[in-house]
Every structure is written in C-alpha cells, then in structure tokens.
C-alpha cells in the first residue's frame, strides 16, 4: 500500500486525477450550453386571436432548432434587434380561407438582413397548414357528393391518414461492414470514448514514470532480493491502475447519465477492457524500452497516430484496414 499512498499523495497525481476531469466536465457542460443556446427564435403574430389558428399552432410542435413565440401584437423592433429571426403575421378570416382552400397570402413573413434559417420554419408551418387544408378540401368534396355525412365527420376522418403516424413506414436496414443494424437504435459515442481513452492513455504514461523512478533509484533492485519483491510492486501498480480506471469509468457513466449523454453499458465495458489492454501494453513497452525518452517518443507517437486513424475511420475518409486494429482506439469506432 506504500506504493498507492506514495503515488496518490503526489500533487501532480491529484491534479491529473481530480482537476483534469473537472476541467473536462466544465468544458462539456459549456459546450452543451452553447448547443442549447443555438436555437432560432421566430415569432408568430395573430392580431385577431382566431381559434382555428390557435389549433394550428397547437399542432406545430416546436421543431428542434426553433423557439416559437406566439403574440398578438407585431413588434418589428424585436426583429431589428435580432431577438427573433423572423415574424409571421396571420391574416384575418384565417378559418374561412383555410376551409375554402384559399391559402394564398395567409401569412405575412417579416425578415431582416441577419435572417438566415427562418425559411425552414416557413416550410414547417406551411406543411402543417397544408395538412389542414387538404383535409378541409377532402371534406368539402365528400359532402358535395354525399349529403348524409357531415363535413366535420369527414374532416376528422382525414386525420387518420396524417396522425399519429406517417402514411407509410419503411423498415430501415443498413448494408455494409459488420452486422445489419436498425438505425433507430444506433447511437454514436465514438468521439466521447476516444476522448476518455486518450486521457487514460496519457494518465498511464504518467504512472509508468513511477516505475522508471523506482528503476533509476535502484528500488526495484532492492526489492528483487526479497521473495517476489519486484512482482509484488508490479502487482500493486497494476491493481492501482485497475482501480483508478474502474473509478474513472464509473464516474464517467454516472456523470454522463446526469448530463443526458446516454453512454451504453456495453460501450463503457469495451472501453474498460481496451484501457486494461492499454495498461498492459504500456507496461510491456516500459519493461522493454528502459530508456525514458524512447518510451515517451514511442507511446506519444502511438497516441497521436491512433487518434488520427480513429477520426479518419469515424468520418469514413479511410476504410478500416487490418493493420488499423493494432491501434487500440480503432476498436472503439
């Protein structure tokens, strides 16, 4: 346990083990906050407070990048200030026009020089409107031909073709390397796992420096005169690595679930085994390459090549090759 105490009470170790993950967490949360902030505000104005229009707006679920505000008064200053990306003002007699299929110039669309992506919202609101218009049109045709059915009945009947599911559903199957997967369940965690592996790899390099120190000060020689003295030291070092990696990955799992980053247990388990392989690999390198500079040059080069290769494979710039599997992170992609 003296080895554990000796390593863990070092200021540098504490800094690497505690401060670094905190900095990383802050960075991730800031990144998330920035992503949340990146929402396009649009304003929809109904000066006449029409019930049909309110029903339409209820059906307009707030689409992912947009933040929709519904008002009764037109405020063009908010557009000029950049508070909103665009303003859509609905015309009077909305209900009557929709029922008659008269949809031209139902809205007045205000935009400014800085407006960029508001066109997407226009398409979105138009699609929802078209659905209502089509149902009204269908109801009108049917009631003209069949007097015994009510218009509202046909209008409601038309809903089954639009809600709650699309008219057709397609079964998606990917065809390529590996097994066929259902895309709906595929979640990409590669970059996060790579990030964690990269941190742990550097951490292990740091911990191997203690073995070098024990070698240089002849501590290993001193221990080797005792039965299994050297083996006990290596065993203690390996156990420490195992415990630290387990704690770090458990922490990652816990924190990611708190931050709504759903890391699968299988992905974390794979990462755990790859980290253990990394520990063994670095220990073997350390035993073979007793020169610290050579060890650092080789392991850092491996680290860089692995990260670059992972990214190239992940972005599908290069195909996975057999030799790529010598690089640990490629197993994560």
């Amino acid at each position: 346990m003296i080895l554990w105490k000796s390593i863990l009470t070092k200021k540098t170790t504490l800094l690497l083990l505690i401060l670094m993950p905190i900095i990383l967490l802050i960075s991730i949360s800031l990144f998330q906050q920035t992503a949340d902030d990146f929402r396009v505000s649009v304003q929809v104005v109904d000066p006449y407070e029409q019930s049909e229009f309110n029903e339409l707006m209820e059906r307009v679920d707030e689409p992912e990048p947009f933040s929709v505000q519904v008002n009764n008064e037109l405020d063009l200053q908010s557009l000029a200030r950049g508070d909103v990306e665009a303003i859509f003002v609905v015309e009077n007699n909305f209900e009557k026009k929709v029922q008659n299929g008269n949809i031209d110039e139902l809205f007045t669309w205000y935009r400014y020089d800085h407006s960029i992506v508001d066109g997407l919202f226009k398409e979105y609101i138009a699609a929802t409107l078209m659905e209502t218009v089509v149902r009204h049109e269908a109801a009108r045709y049917v009631t003209d031909e069949l007097e015994q059915v009510s218009r509202q009945e046909v209008f409601d009947f038309g809903l089954r073709y639009f809600e709650p599911d699309p008219l057709f559903q397609m079964n998606f199957q990917s065809y390529g390397h590996g097994s066929q997967v259902d895309e709906r369940h595929e979640v990409k965690h590669g970059p996060i796992l790579l990030f964690i592996w990269a941190y742990i790899w550097l951490l292990i390099i740091y911990f191997t420096s203690f073995i070098d120190q024990y070698r240089e000060t002849q501590l290993l020689n001193r221990l080797s005169v005792y039965t299994f003295g050297k083996v006990k030291l290596y065993r203690s070092w390996l156990t420490l690595m195992l415990v630290l990696i387990s704690v770090l990955l458990s922490g990652v799992g816990l924190i990611s679930s708190q931050m709504n980053i759903q890391l699968e247990t299988n992905a974390l388990m794979s990462l755990f085994f790859l980290c253990i392989i990394s520990v063994l690999l670095l220990l073997i390198f350390n035993l073979l390459l007793k020169n610290r500079k050579t060890f650092l040059a080789l392991t850092i080069m491996y680290w860089i090549v692995s990260i670059v290769m992972f990214m190239l494979v992940d972005w599908q710039i290069v195909d996975e090759a057999w030799w790529g599997y010598f690089l640990i992170p490629v197993w994560l992609s």
């Binding site: 003296i2 105490k5 000796s6 000060t217 002849q218 501590l219």
Partner: protein
C-alpha cells in the same frame, strides 16, 4: 559462503568483468576498491544475485533462507513517505517479527526522532541512514553496500559504522564499495582491488601500508588513488 570462479560478464559487447575468481566467507568484511569503470558495482550486484554471469560459476551456500541485504548507491526510497511508513512497509515485506531488532536499529541510527518526517524533508545523512535501515530490517546474514556513505555527515557516518561493525562482530558478512578511507579503516577487513574488470589483488587491511607503497610503483590509475588517499 559465496564463490566466484572465472566469472565473465559483458554488457553490449563491452567486457565488464573479466575472469574474476574470489570467495566470500561468513563474517568477512570486504571492500571492493578500484577506479571508476573497474566493474565494482557489477561485481557487487552479481554477488548479491541481482545479475547472472555470462560465463563462469557462481555458487551460493544455502546456509540461510534469509534474503541478502542490498543498500544501493541511490536513495531507494519513496520521497513523499515518512520514515515510519518505510519501516512498516519493509517489515511487512520481509515478514520480520523481531521488534527488538528494529527498535535497537532505530535507536542506533537515531531514526526514532524522525519517524514522522517524510524522506523529502530529511537531511542527506538522515536519508542515508534510512536507506541503510530498510536494507537491514530483516537481519540479513550478508549485506551489500554500494557507496552507501556518499554525502553522509560525520555524525551519521559514525552511527552507521557503529551499527555495521556490531553486526559484523555478530557474524554478519559485509561486502561494500567505498572510496572513503575512514569507512575502509573502520569497517573493512579485506580489500579486493579491481581494474578494467579484473581482480588485480586481494589483501588484508593490515597490509594496506605496504600495498599502498607497492601500487605507487605500478603505472595504473590505482597508483593515483592510493597515493592521494593515503
């Protein structure tokens, strides 16, 4: 106790030990002496069983099951751990149960006063004493000291020499490397003189004055060493 017969050891094709033959008997106190690069540390490590010869025969009588005591030149300690942590760790590691011995050694080396201090807070002499103590904690029958007195102040050196002499008088064998004539004078009984990986002489400490005279006539680096130090 230990026997070396025509030992040859090479490192990267460089001859480090060249045909060394010698014997270490129980209760001996041998000083390996010679200029830098003579192969003293390598021979000491070989005697301690830390490295194997490339050629030749190395025999160790299994008179005792206790491990040897090895005190390296460097401070083989954990810098941010206390003196007490070290003594406890080596006590457990060597399964030493004789508390009296540890207490006596701690007293003799004045370690009790600094038990709570970390190694990085110790003076050079104190750290050397701890370096010695952890190597002797299991009461070895044979002790190997590689320049264990470098940078030690007179008071610390006195404590260390006193304790080692006491152990030697009790039958513990000592093999050491030092260039300190004070240490040689107080501890060594026999000198092995090495040069370029060869054993050039072995003699008793009583013959040192004559040998010093003799080496002054030989054209070798040893000449200077004896001349200056004597």
């Amino acid at each position: 106790m230990l026997q070396l017969n025509n030992i040859i050891y090479k490192n990267k094709n460089k001859m480090i030990l060249n045909g060394i033959s010698a014997e270490v008997k129980q209760g001996d106190s041998i000083c390996l002496f010679g200029p830098n690069g003579a192969g003293k540390s390598t021979l000491l490590k070989m005697l301690a069983g830390l490295i194997e010869p490339d050629q030749g025969v190395y025999k160790q009588d299994k008179l005792t099951s206790k491990p040897v005591g090895y005190i390296p030149q460097q401070l083989a300690l954990f810098p941010n751990m206390t003196v007490k942590d070290h003594l406890s760790f080596y006590k457990k590691m060597t399964k030493q149960k004789d508390r009296e011995f540890i207490e006596a050694m701690s007293n003799a080396l004045s370690l009790n006063e600094i038990k709570k201090k970390k190694v990085e807070e110790l003076s050079g002499g104190m750290a050397r004493k701890l370096n010695l103590a952890v190597g002797l904690i299991h009461e070895p029958d044979i002790i190997f000291l590689d320049e264990a007195f470098v940078g030690v102040d007179l008071a610390a050196k006195h404590d260390m020499l006193q304790w080692l002499r006491l152990l030697n008088e009790d039958g513990v064998t000592i093999v050491l490397i030092t260039h300190d004539w004070h240490v040689i004078h107080h501890l060594a009984k026999t000198l092995w003189v090495l040069e370029d990986g060869r054993m050039v002489d072995q003699f008793s400490i009583e013959n040192l004055p004559q040998k010093a005279e003799e080496y002054k006539l030989v054209d070798s680096p040893l000449n200077k060493m004896f001349a200056v130090q004597n």
